[in-house]
């Protein structure tokens, strides 16, 4: 039996490399100053899907919801072996929280036949780990979170080992299922040189200036599909700002440039002042 996998991947700012310049004066993040990368654990999700395809045969579709620039992660997925890539982009997706995001992604997944949906455990920009389980609920399927090893796939049964923090658990479930994958699961493969040569010119319509270019790319099989909310037949009530129950009340910056060392005298008043400073900037308290 072969398996159809859909992998949900996200382009994220490389939060490990945030420096002073990456923060605006008002404490918001200057996304433009941050390198954008393939969310690390989504690479583990993709790798697991590719391994399933290698072992049992099947098809791997990669989807991302984001700005046209997010097409880059789709190309990266194509270089590694994905069969199909889809960009979900629409102005009306803006300001979606995890609930709206998972709703939109579930509408997209429904457009494809699938046995297994794979997500990373969490995206490093928000570290929420919510989109996977929420998408599973919206799709009406079960979930296995924190997958550290796929033990078996047989017919419509999957057996996996999940990390439960202070130990592990082996579970079996019926397909279709959604998995969230952790970094221990595998070592993601690198891009294949042959596929890189082939797909480096692949583009989404949003990245093209000219409609005519799209036609030419399509003929070469290099046009990456692009879906909007109309195509998804999504109910706008559940998308974007309107579909997002959570709102931001306030954002505060906590960046202290690493090399800025303060000398603190080993005296009670000096230590009191230090503790006060740490309470004020939310480090403690």
């Amino acid at each position: 039996m072969s398996y159809k996998c859909v992998v949900l991947v996200k382009q994220v700012p490389d939060t490990k490399r945030i420096t002073g310049q990456a923060m605006n004066a008002d404490g918001t993040v200057n996304r433009a100053a941050l390198p954008a990368i393939f969310n690390p654990e989504d690479l583990n999700a993709l790798e697991l899907a590719l391994q399933i395809k290698d072992r049992f045969g099947g098809h791997v579709t990669v989807m991302t919801m984001g700005l046209p620039a997010a097409s880059e992660v789709l190309r990266q997925a194509l270089y590694r072996g994905a069969d199909e890539a889809i960009l979900i982009t629409d102005r009306r997706c803006a300001a979606s929280d995890t609930l709206a995001t998972s709703y939109i992604l579930s509408c997209a997944v429904r457009k494809r036949d699938y046995d297994i949906v794979l997500c990373g455990r969490q995206a490093i920009d928000g570290d929420t780990a919510q989109v996977g389980p929420q998408a599973a609920e919206k799709l009406g399927i079960a979930q296995i979170t924190y997958v550290q090893e796929l033990l078996d796939l047989e017919g419509d049964r999957i057996t996996a080992r999940r990390n439960i923090g202070n130990g592990w658990q082996e579970v079996r479930a019926k397909l279709p299922i959604l998995l969230t994958v952790i970094d221990e699961a595998n070592e993601p493969r690198v891009a294949s040189a042959r596929r890189l040569m082939k797909y480096k010119k692949a583009r989404t319509p949003a990245e093209l200036a000219d409609k005519a270019d799209a036609k030419a790319l399509e003929e070469k099989g290099l046009l990456i599909q692009q879906w909007d909310l109309d195509f998804l037949e999504a109910d706008l009530k559940w998308c974007g700002r309107d579909g997002s129950p959570t709102k931001v009340h306030r954002i505060q910056s906590v960046v202290l440039t690493a090399k800025e060392t303060k000398n603190v005298e080993p005296t009670q008043p000096a230590l009191n002042a230090m503790v006060h400073e740490l309470i004020v900037d939310h480090t403690i308290g």
């Binding site: 993040v29 609920e137 057996t159 579970v171 129950p245 954002i251 906590v254 009191n272 006060h276 480090t283």
Partner: protein, 342 residues
């Protein structure tokens, strides 16, 4: 979702496995108590399981006014689908205004599933919760007594305060170890509300084949604050200062390999290349030289305070706060400073 219901209760999900309560519900109970008192509503624990009666008293001792008890043989083992179904139904029935979960692997598996089913908001991994008002800039409308869900984002570079003013309940998962454990009051009693559960085998999506849980001595990774001691602490007895400082900050004690090898503390606490890699908001290094193998496990900490009596100790090169002095004097003074602020 449910309507805004300012008379709604504050709920804490009482995570238990095999009849053992986790620490997080107790930690959440101290915060939940505070929130419920400000809102002048009851604090309730919600417990699902097979036979849970024995744990009810414990929840009362830690601050619950009420315990919703959903007992059913099919709830013996935690599973996302069955647990989410029961909690979803309870939310619709009782309309709480706030529901809190520990940000444990179980809580992070369950809460989003519930949030999606209820179509309510959920903020992950909060490190603080407060009650406050929010004014909508455009309309000037003020929403009073909302739950401020405070969490680090962008790899800990910003602190965001999230609210949820129209689609309730207001739900959050709260990072382990950030809320202090309250002192139990063994005289407290809670009202027990037994809930009828209707579940069938179909509600169990997973077959749990095998499971292994180790008794976890310390969870350094989940700690927002780590107080680590090195060989400079001198003895196992003296290491008590490190524990004390960690305790009053709601943090976890860490150690260097040298301290572990000298028998000052168990290996579970070792930070570094061959120990745990941590990225807390605050790392206090006391009597630690700062060898590269130790730095490998903690240099990504957001803030580092180093206490050392050697001005040339390499740890000072990566510290944000440099305290040149004897840890035996500095640590007690820090404890005093923190206790007096609190």
């Amino acid at each position: 979702m449910i309507e805004v219901n300012t008379a709604g209760e504050v709920w804490v999900f009482a995570e238990q496995h095999a009849g053992m309560l986790e620490d997080t519900p107790m930690e959440l109970m101290s915060k939940g108590r505070e929130l419920a008192d400000i809102l002048k509503v009851p604090l309730a624990a919600v417990m699902l399981g097979d036979t849970c009666q024995e744990m009810v008293d414990c929840l009362a001792h830690y601050g619950a006014d009420k315990v919703y008890l959903a007992e059913h043989p099919l709830l013996e083992h935690y599973q996302s689908t069955s647990y989410a179904k029961v909690i979803h139904d309870l939310i619709h029935k009782h309309k709480p205004q706030i529901v809190l979960y520990g940000a444990t692997p179980c809580g992070r598996d369950l809460a989003p599933r519930v949030a999606s089913a209820v179509k309510a908001g959920l903020t992950a991994d909060c490190t603080d919760l407060q009650i406050g008002n929010h004014e909508v800039a455009k309309t000037g409308k003020v929403y009073e007594n909302l739950l401020f869900q405070i969490r680090p984002a962008f790899g800990g570079n910003i602190i965001a305060t999230i609210i949820n003013f129209d689609r309730w309940p207001q739900m959050a998962t709260v990072r382990e170890g950030v809320m202090p454990m309250p002192e139990p009051d063994t005289h407290r009693k809670a009202k027990v509300v037994k809930e009828k559960v209707s579940l069938s085998q179909e509600d169990l999506a997973l077959e749990i084949l095998r499971e292994q849980r180790q008794e976890r001595k310390v969870n350094l990774k989940a700690s927002r604050i780590i107080v680590a001691g090195g060989a400079g602490v001198g003895s196992r007895e003296n290491f008590k200062q490190i524990w004390d400082l960690a305790h009053c900050l709601g943090g976890a004690p860490g150690a260097t390999r040298a301290a572990v090898d000298l028998g000052f503390i168990d290996r579970d606490h070792q930070v570094g290349q061959t120990g745990t890699t941590v990225r807390p908001s605050l790392y206090i290094a006391a009597g630690i030289s700062g060898a590269i193998q130790h730095q490998a496990g903690m240099s990504e900490s957001q803030k580092i305070i180093a206490i050392n009596n050697d001005p040339d100790a390499p740890i000072f090169n990566i510290a944000h706060y440099k305290i040149l002095g004897d840890l035996n004097e500095v640590v007690p003074m820090m404890i005093k400073a923190i206790k007096e602020k609190a």
